[in-house]
């Protein structure tokens, strides 16, 4: 078991496990966010619960952050190693003949998602941590009501930010279109269920980012129309 992470297969396995973890998190994030469209009151209540419950805040949140960092760092490590494995590149290489654009450009779609996450952290996570743990206000209240829905709606006022969010989710879809079923292959799950797994992962890869785009556009258009 020792040294599994130093092998090529071990690193891919770890990459796949962190990917599955982030995929589950993304679904949970989407389920909470879509509540903002259908029921702002429930969205506020769930947001407050997630923002104050000790298990989420002190155990799941650090695991999530570690998972995100691990996935990105390991992605870069693998990319650097892979680049070194072909020092002289081909003069002519016809990649489209045998593989999808998504599969060949995971590092670029990943970098766009990383850039988006920096914006997302500045928009939501850092102010949230500041309010709760620096200022010390755990009430979740502002002017006598929960602040979560109001803050969310405010962020989607600027069309440039909405555009950046939508673009990032397009890249997330591209990343997931290859990454989701690729993670199954990395853990060795290529069997009679593969066809079903591929269909499900494609559905997820398109459906969830599309849902996030819908949420951003919904709140933007609701304010501007």
């Amino acid at each position: 078991m020792s040294g599994i992470l130093s092998s090529s297969i071990g690193r891919k396995f770890a990459m796949a496990i962190s990917a599955f973890f982030l995929i589950v998190f993304l679904l949970q994030h989407f389920v909470i966010n879509i509540l903002s469209v259908f029921n702002p009151t429930v969205f506020n209540q769930v947001s407050h619960f997630m923002g104050t419950f000790w298990l989420v805040q002190y155990i799941l949140q650090p695991i999530l952050i570690l998972g995100v960092i691990f996935h990105f760092v390991m992605g870069f490590v693998l990319e650097i190693k892979n680049n070194k494995s072909r020092e002289i590149k081909y003069v002519k290489n016809y990649g489209n003949a045998n593989s999808s654009w998504m599969s060949r450009n995971m590092i670029w779609s990943g970098l766009v998602i990383l850039s988006f996450m920096i914006l997302h952290f500045i928009d939501f996570w850092i102010p949230e941590i500041n309010t709760k743990y620096i200022v010390g206000d755990m009430s979740g209240m502002h002017n006598g009501e929960f602040r979560y829905y109001t803050e969310l709606v405010e962020k989607f006022h600027n069309p440039l930010r909405v555009g950046a969010y939508c673009l990032a989710f397009v890249f997330l879809a591209l990343h997931l279109l290859h990454g989701f079923n690729s993670a199954f292959q990395s853990i060795g799950a290529n069997n009679k269920y593969t066809k079903g797994i591929n269909s499900f992962s494609k559905l997820y890869a398109i459906g969830i980012p599309l849902g996030f785009i819908f949420i951003a556009l919904f709140h933007h258009l609701k304010q501007t129309l």
Binding site: I9, N82, N98, S182, I187, G188
Partner: protein, 248 residues
């Protein structure tokens, strides 16, 4: 057919190398790609130039010696064929054809289009075998029952000819299709199970030591493999490796 060839020329392993343009004319569409290169080499020899060095042996798609990255694809534009099985009818008159050696850090160029694929041999030496007593007492072939399904899958994996197209075509120069096939052909059979743990650990260790990249599941290797080796073999190798790692 009249063609423009852009061919990688490199005097030796230490030479920097460059693409050189050649014109060939009156090429028959029924020639194989290697025969077309033979025509070019005859012309070069007659002119007193150095012929283009390229690997070839059986010329019937079995030995895996012919390599070549043709117009951006391993073994050229055909599917499930080696370069010796690629015919000039796949190209058009006045085409420009790029011919490069298979590129990978683990496959250094020896001269022109000839590469050193001994890294594959070393991976095989590390575990791609079963230890049996060959001093006599031949066992009856039917003494160990093997299901038809397992036998077929093992045979499919064993059709790998070790040509290196998977490495050449992979954007990461990963050898996992090759190693996956070699691991699978034994893992699927009872005779191979005895040394399964050591085999997969040693072969993967050697594969990494040779400098091959990681698999990112683009699937390009499966498409370009002249023998149609399936990605299922990589998944099986991954399972075997994880199982072996847990065992110790």
């Amino acid at each position: 057919m009249n063609l423009t060839l852009k061919i990688w020329r490199q005097k030796n392993a230490n030479d920097k190398g460059k693409m050189v343009d050649y014109q060939v004319s009156d090429i028959s569409p029924d020639m194989s790609f290697l025969e077309m290169l033979d025509v070019l080499n005859n012309e070069l020899i007659e002119k007193g130039d150095s012929p283009v060095a390229f690997d070839h042996d059986c010329r019937e798609g079995i030995c895996g010696m012919c390599s070549l990255y043709i117009n951006g694809e391993a073994h050229g534009p055909g599917r499930k064929i080696t370069t010796c099985q690629l015919h000039m009818r796949m190209f058009k008159d006045d085409d420009t054809i790029y011919i490069e050696p298979f590129r990978a850090k683990a496959f250094p160029v020896i001269k022109d289009l000839v590469i050193d694929r001994s890294a594959f041999d070393r991976v095989q030496y590390a575990g791609g075998f079963i230890s049996v007593n060959t001093s006599g007492n031949t066992q009856d072939a039917n003494s160990i029952p093997i299901s038809k399904h397992a036998a077929d899958e093992a045979m499919d994996a064993a059709t790998c000819i070790g040509c290196g197209a998977c490495v050449a075509t992979c954007k990461n120069s990963s050898a996992m299709l090759f190693v996956g096939a070699k691991v699978s052909q034994y893992a699927l059979l009872p005779q191979g199970k005895v040394e399964a743990t050591d085999r997969v650990l040693n072969m993967i260790h050697q594969m990494d030591a040779e400098g091959f990249g990681n698999c990112t599941n683009t699937g390009a290797c499966e498409i370009e493999c002249p023998k149609g080796i399936s990605l299922e073999n990589i998944a099986r190798m991954n399972r075997e490796y994880l199982k072996a790692s847990l065992k110790g």
